[in-house]
C-alpha cells in the first residue's frame, strides 16, 4: 500500500476516528470486559468483547475510552480490525502493531486504518497511548503475552 500523500491521508484517518469513534454502543452482559489505565497520564479504557466460542471469532467489540487523540483513535481502529477475526489472527495483528510502533519489521497490509499511527515510532512516550486498547484486549481474552 502506498499513497500519493501519506501524511494528509493519515492525518485525516486519525482525526476521523477521534471525532467519530467506531463501534460505540451499550454492551449487554454477554460481553467480557477489562479496564486498563495508564497511571502516568490518566488515559483509561474499558473494553468489551463479545467472543463467539463456537466459531472461535470476535463477534463484536465496544469500549469506553478517555484520553488523548492517539489513545482514542487507536482503540477505535482496533475495534474495526478485530471484529470478525479469530484469536490467532488477532495475535498476529497485535504483534504486527507492536512491531510498527516500536520500530521493528511489520506488514502494513494487516493493519487497516491503524497504519496511520506509524508515526508513533518517533514519539516513544506515546507508545503507551497507542497500545492501551490492545493491552486491554489481551486482558479480556486472558492472553499473557507482554506487549
Amino acid at each position: 500500500m502506498s499513497y500519493f500523500n501519506d501524511e494528509s491521508m493519515y492525518r485525516e484517518i486519525i482525526i476521523d476516528h477521534t471525532k467519530n469513534p467506531r463501534n460505540i454502543k451499550k454492551p449487554n452482559d454477554d460481553y467480557k470486559k477489562a479496564y486498563l489505565k495508564n497511571p502516568s497520564c490518566g488515559d483509561e479504557i474499558t473494553l468489551y468483547v463479545l467472543y463467539d466460542e463456537k466459531e472461535n471469532k470476535v463477534k463484536d467489540i465496544t469500549y469506553k475510552v478517555s484520553g488523548c487523540s492517539i489513545c482514542c483513535a487507536s482503540a477505535s481502529m482496533m475495534s474495526e480490525l478485530f471484529i470478525g477475526k479469530t484469536k490467532e489472527e488477532i495475535d498476529k495483528i497485535i504483534q504486527n502493531f507492536n512491531n510498527m510502533v516500536t520500530g521493528q519489521e511489520y506488514d502494513e497490509d494487516m493493519l487497516g486504518d491503524a497504519i496511520s499511527l506509524k508515526g508513533v515510532v518517533n514519539v516513544p512516550p506515546r507508545i503507551k497511548c497507542a497500545t492501551l486498547g490492545y493491552k486491554a484486549f489481551q486482558k479480556v481474552i486472558g492472553d499473557s503475552h507482554e506487549m
Binding site: E7, Y10, R11, I14, I15, S40, C41, G42, D43, S66, G67, C68, S69, I70, C72, L117, K118, G119, V120, N122, V123, P125, R126, C129
Partner: protein
Amino acid sequence: MNKYRKDFPMLKHDYIYFNNASTSLKPQVVIDSIVDYYSNYSVNTNRGVDSLGYEVTKKYEQVREKVANFISSDKDEIVFTRGATDSLNLVANSFGNLIVDEGDEVVVSVVEHHANFIPWQELCKRKGAKLVLVPVLEDGTVTPENLRQVMSDKTKIVALNHVSNVMGGINDLKNLAKVVHEFNAYFVVDGSQGIIHEKINVKNLDIDFYAFSAHKMYGPMGVGVLYGKKELLEMMPPIVFGGEMIESVTIEKTTYKKAPYKFEAGTMMVPEVLGFGAAIDYINKIGLKNINEYVRKLRDYLVDKLLKEVKDIEIYNLNNKDTGFVTFNIKNIHSHDVASLLDKEKIIVRAGHHCAEPYMNALNVVATVRVSLAFYNTYEECDRLVDVLKKAGDYIDVLF
C-alpha cells in the same frame, strides 16, 4: 533577570523549560558544590574522630542552619529527609500514629498532591479514623471559614498545601493555623510549591509542620526538609532505625538522640545537602522577592497573550497571579496532545492529572496542561509558546 540564565547549564540546550513546578533547573554553583564534595572531602558525617569527617559534618550542619534561617525556625527543628513526600510520610507515620485514634478525624483538601493525601488516607485506614475533606474555592484555595465548618473536637490533624501544584493558589496559612489551633488540632503544611513563592516565617505563621524539597528550589534531588516545632519533634518516635541516630544500644534496649538527629538514620545524602546549601545561598543572593516580582510580571504577560491570541484556550486559574502557574486546556483537545506537540517544538510543560486525581475529578476535567514559570524564563520564550499554540491545528503533528 536574563543575566542569571548563564548560571544554568541546562539552559544552554535548545529547550524552553516551563515545568518548574515539577522540578527546577540547577545553577552551576549547586552542581559545583556536589562535585566539590566528591572531589575534596568525600567522607561520612558524624562518625569517628577524623578531621575530614569533622569538616564535612560542620558543612552539613551549616546547611541546617541556612534552612532554619530561610524559614525563620530554630536549627534543631529542621530534619533532613529524602524530599517533601518523605517528610509528609514521616509526620503521618510517626506523629499521626501517635495522636490519631479510632473515631478521630484528619482534614485534607481535594486539591492536595497525592503525597499530602495518601499518607493521611492510609493513617485513617490503619486507625479507624475518618478522612474529612474541606471544601475548596474555584481557585483551589481553602478559606479559614470553610475550614472552620469541617472542624470539630474530633479533628486531630489538618494537612493542607501552602500553594496548590495544580492551580497555584496561595493558602492563608496564618489564619488557617488559627482555626486549626482553636480546635486543639495540629497543622501540617505541604510547602513543596510554596517555599519558592513566598518568604515564610514558620514562627509567625504558627505552623506545626512544614514539608518541602530542595529540588524545587534550584537544589539537588534527593533531599528535603521536615520542619517541626521542637516539642512536637521531641514527642515523635523515630520510624527508621540504624546508625548515627542512637544514643546507646544494648541487647535489651536502645535510646535515641534528640530531634532532629533521631530521624536521620544511616548515611545521609551529604552531597545533596551541601548542594541544597548552595541553592539557598543562590536564592538569597538574587532575593526571593525579586524572583517572584519578575515571575508575576512574566505570568501576566503570558496569560494576556494566550487569551488574546490562542483560539479556544480555557485557563482555569486566571486569578492566581502570584505563583507563575498557568493551568489550561484547548477546547476539545486532550492535554497530552497539546504537551506532546509542544515537546516536539522543544517546549517542556506538564500535562495530565498533576498527581492530584481527586481534584481533577472534582474539576470535572480529565487532565490539564500546566505551564509553571521560573525567573530564568523569558518573554521571548512565552512568545514562542503562544506561536506554537496558535499554529497547532489538529495537534497531531507529532506523528508526522
